[in-house]
């Protein structure tokens, strides 16, 4: 029965992730920790595997479409993977409730980021696509921001796209679609650097990861096909509500306030 619910949860997380163009980690960790009761360390390690799967599944499509800048992605990975190793090592010495609290604050940030991103995308006029030419600017600053994205990825089991994509789009002036595709390509390499630490530390439950990975991949598949049929605004509102609720639950869990129950 647990297998069925894990697949279903992965399906929902993957579907949301695909519909909103985000990594699934910010949903997978709260699901595994709050609903299935895994420790934060195991939830994070398992989430990193799902994040790799999502990225590896989507990356070939973006590369073939000419949207991914592999050279830029690899250059940024020099600092991102280092950040992920430091984040993953730090998580090994932090208590589970401390990770819960940090994750809660991260969810609040992402919730506000989603609201801000929506307001901004409504205000923007066009978007340079695959055939546009561009010049990479502020590479050292981008690498610096990506280092922190790697930190968050290794520490909290997320992809880190919420930092990588803005870093590429704003200071580095990469067109948004290219930034999203390049960020997706980078995620699997970043998550791998962190996941190795969790896996060999024993902080991954493969039997829980397997159904979750299958669910997430199915969710991304269906999500990408539903993208033009579902109102993106409604999905975003539901997602933001879930994120804020999960943020509160993670903070309550971290501070050991068991007020709310599912």
């Amino acid at each position: 029965m647990d297998i069925f619910f894990l697949i279903l949860s992965g399906l929902l997380a993957g579907g949301f992730a695909s519909l909103l163009g985000i990594g699934g980690g910010i949903l997978i960790v709260p699901i595994l920790s709050l609903i299935f009761g895994l420790s934060m360390h195991t939830a994070i390690g398992t989430s990193l595997l799902c994040v790799i799967a999502t990225s590896v599944g989507a990356a070939p499509y973006y590369i073939r479409e000419g949207l991914t800048d592999i050279r830029l992605g690899l250059s940024l990975e020099l600092s991102t993977t280092l950040g992920a190793i430091i984040g993953g090592s730090l998580a090994g010495v932090l208590r589970s409730d401390t990770l819960s609290i940090i994750f809660g604050f991260l969810l609040f940030y992402i919730g506000f980021y989603m609201i801000f991103k929506r307001a901004q995308s409504q205000g923007s006029s066009g978007e340079a696509g695959r055939f546009s030419s561009y010049e990479v600017r502020n590479l050292p600053l981008g690498m610096g921001i990506c280092f922190f994205a790697g930190n968050f990825s290794g520490l909290l089991g997320v992809g880190g796209g919420f930092l990588k994509v803005p870093a590429m789009h704003y200071p580095m002036r990469i067109p948004l679609k290219k930034a999203v595709a390049t960020g997706n390509f980078m995620v699997s390499i970043t998550a791998c650097a962190g996941a190795l630490l969790y896996y060999f530390r024993g902080d991954v439950n493969p039997a829980a990861a397997a159904p979750m990975i299958i669910g997430v991949l199915m969710g991304s598949f269906f999500g990408s096909r539903l993208i033009y049929r579902i109102k993106a605004d409604l999905i975003r509102k539901i997602f933001v509500a879930i994120i804020f609720y999960s943020a509160l639950r993670m903070l309550f869990q971290g501070f050991n306030f068991h007020i709310l129950k599912f």
């Binding site: 297998i3 070939p60 690899l74 020099l78 439950n205 990861a209």
Partner: protein
């Protein structure tokens, strides 16, 4: 000399092959897990992690061995991508990016070394 598009398509191909391989093996392991006579909840802790599986376990259709192999192939997909990028850029005489790929590969190896420590 490899053209730009060739390099990108090669990397996309490696990603696709690794994706189908790991997805297929994990799915097969999961099916075995469901029909395994000693199936318990997958949320039962960390005891399922085993790095000591052997080819015999795979032939005996041990679900944990198959799931572990699938997860291993997923974990090493980024390694494969970076190695292929390194050689692709090397053969296309883009020394800077072959060095960048080598740097990323070294960091991934560092992560593996730290993990195995």
């Amino acid at each position: 000399m490899l053209k730009d598009q060739k390099i990108y398509f090669l990397i996309a191909k490696v990603l696709r092959i690794c994706f189908y391989l790991s997805f297929g093996v994990i799915a097969f392991g999961l099916i075995l897990f469901v029909f395994h006579p000693e199936t318990r909840s997958p949320l039962g802790g960390k005891t399922l992690i085993s790095l000591s599986w052997s080819p015999d376990d795979l032939f005996c259709l041990n679900p944990f061995a198959w799931i572990n192999v699938g997860i291993f192939s997923l974990l090493f997909t980024p390694f494969a991508v970076v190695v292929v990028s390194f050689f692709a850029f090397l053969f296309s005489e883009e020394r800077i990016y072959s060095l960048v790929s080598a740097g990323v590969l070294l960091i991934l190896i560092l992560s593996l070394a730290l993990a195995l420590r």
